[in-house]
């Protein structure tokens, strides 16, 4: 009945959506590297330009993407404020005194302000590019991608397959367990349970009549599921895999964009140097 917007996936059939999840994971890593390689505003601007470009091709509305920033709004402000107060430096970027205000260990300087702005921008870019991954990739295909990337670890006896299966079952069961929680909560509310008032201690206590049935049900489900898996011949080894991820021309394009971005940001770093 109630739609569960898990993992914030935004359904669309865009260029970005259809990229191989491994390519998207790689792109995300490269993007994060680029953000940290960039040591001047031009570098960040280049990253931002790439991001805008990606968003445009993903058909996810800009406002939707920006809403991802809401969650870290206060963190960003806080980080900025701390850095303004603690960062000291003599560089000037505009007419006026290099240091505006000084009190003990606190000081507000031109360099501090610029540095803070730079950090906040980095943080925002970081959050935006990560959320682009979850907006355009279903949890299922993300799991497939992670499994595929981890495959080489099989050589060191790391149970990649089992890990992937655990992730897959968890994803499958989350909506079921959420529905179940709502159902049990309703039933106990009907019996007069109160989840909304009282102090913190009381409220946690109020959840016991929900938690116990939920746990019991999860164990029961696990039991039945393991029977069902066994009945379908699961033995944990000598399995094949139906779904195979395949790189396409799109992934090549994405790879080139990624390479260009890294190269560009590196060049900007070398030729323009640290603006801070």
């Amino acid at each position: 009945m109630k739609a569960v917007a898990f993992g914030q996936y935004y359904p669309a059939n865009s260029f970005v959506h259809r990229l191989d999840p491994r390519m998207k994971l790689l792109f995300l890593v490269a993007f994060i590297v680029a953000i940290f390689v960039a040591n001047n505003f031009y570098g960040l601007a280049a990253c931002a330009a790439v991001l805008v470009f990606v968003i445009a091709f993903s058909r996810v509305p800009f406002l939707k993407v920006l809403s991802a920033v809401k969650g870290i709004f206060f963190l960003a402000i806080f980080t900025g404020a701390i850095n303004v107060l603690f960062h000291t430096g003599e560089k000037t970027y505009w007419a006026g005194p290099a240091v505006y205000w000084n009190w003990g260990i606190f000081c507000v300087s031109q360099e501090g302000i610029v540095f803070s702005v730079f950090l906040i921008l980095r943080l925002l870019l970081l959050v935006l590019c990560s959320s682009m991954l979850t907006y355009t990739t279903t949890p299922v295909s993300l799991t497939d991608g992670i499994e595929s990337i981890l495959t080489p670890l099989k050589w060191v006896k790391f149970p990649v397959h089992a890990l992937a299966l655990i992730m897959s079952i968890a994803l499958r069961m989350i909506p079921t367990l959420m529905e179940e929680t709502a159902r049990i909560k309703n039933a106990q509310t009907a019996r007069g349970a109160n989840f909304e008032s009282g102090n913190l201690f009381k409220r946690i206590g109020a959840f016991i009549p929900v938690l116990i049935p939920l746990l019991l049900s999860a164990f029961r489900r696990a039991d039945e599921l393991s029977d069902a898996m066994e009945a379908r011949c699961y033995k944990g080894e000598k399995r094949t895999k139906y779904k195979k991820l395949r790189f396409s021309w799109r992934d090549l394009v994405a790879f080139l964009v990624m390479a260009a971005m890294i190269a560009g940001v590196a060049l900007l770093r070398v030729y323009l140097g640290e603006i801070l």
Binding site: V140, P175, D227, M229, R232, Y234, K235, R239, Y242
Partner: protein, 280 residues
């Protein structure tokens, strides 16, 4: 074992006993043959041991005593996986049988487990989904489906292993009438058209009417055997095993007790026919 046994019996249980450990046997000295290609209904009240039967038939549980053969081959540790792929089980709760979020990934699970190659798995998915009438849901999210649809996916997941026998362990118990009809339609078609041997474990006595043969379980033993009609003609005995007659059986019995000579039929059109004959 003789050569003749092979085509005869899909499942054969000889003197099988099983207990979960604490006090008393759950299955006791049970003898049962399931003939190849037949549709067998297993009736019994809750706790009569019928679900344990399903888990024994596919080696999820191993009997304490006695012997179980699948197509003449004794079910033991050595042949476990081989035989398991020939006897599929669909369980009760539609939410507790799927491992993947997307329909096709889940249907592929069993076929992946036995190590088939990709092309073959693809073909098996096509076959299994169309056999349960869910071709259009190949890329659907499992958790958004109805109970009946989820259960059809569970059947497809078993079918992808191309089993010769399909056991439904109260697979209709948690469904609404529509979902129940969907499942019964699918399994009777599989039985008729694909020649799959079906063992339908249920406490809905009405569902047993479709079977070729039925057995009744009570306290871990089989206490009645026969065609559904034969079994339902022994209504009083059925009651002692905590089962009831199908409603139609109750009505025709009451009419007979009232002095109307209607036959012992389980089909309402026929009963109406008989009533019409009696009153005109």
């Amino acid at each position: 074992m003789t050569v003749q046994e092979l085509p005869e019996n899909a499942i054969e249980m000889r003197n099988v006993s099983f207990s979960y450990g604490q006090g008393g046997f759950c299955i006791q000295g049970l003898n049962l043959e399931v003939k190849k290609g037949e549709f067998l209904a297993v009736l019994g009240h809750n706790g009569s041991g019928k679900s344990t039967l399903a888990r024994l038939a596919n080696g999820i549980l191993m009997p304490d005593k006695g012997e179980i053969s699948i197509f003449g081959q004794v079910l033991d540790d050595k042949h476990l996986y081989d035989l398991r792929s020939r006897v599929g089980v669909v369980f009760q709760n539609p939410d507790n049988q799927t491992v993947a979020s997307v329909v096709e990934d889940d249907v592929a699970f069993g076929a992946e487990n036995v190590g088939l190659d990709r092309e073959e798995i693809g073909r098996r998915i096509d076959f299994a989904l169309s056999a349960v009438g869910m071709q259009d849901y190949r890329y659907a999210t499992v958790s958004r489906l109805s109970g009946g649809q989820k259960q059809r996916i569970a059947i497809a997941g078993v079918l992808a292993l191309r089993p010769d026998v399909m056991i439904l362990d109260e697979s209709t118990a948690m469904l609404d009438p529509k979902g129940r009809r969907e499942i019964i339609d699918v399994v009777s078609r599989l039985n008729r058209e694909e020649g799959v041997t079906v063992v339908l474990i249920t406490h809905f006595v009405e569902e047993a009417l479709l079977a070729d043969r039925a057995v009744v379980m009570n306290r871990g033993e089989i206490v009645m055997r026969g065609t559904p009609a034969e079994i339902f003609s022994r209504g009083d005995e059925l009651l002692t095993y905590n089962l009831t007659l199908p409603r139609i059986g109750i009505i025709s019995k009451r009419l007979r007790e009232g002095g109307m000579s209607v036959g012992d039929t389980l089909d309402f059109e026929k009963l109406a026919e008989e009533i019409a004959r009696c009153v005109s």
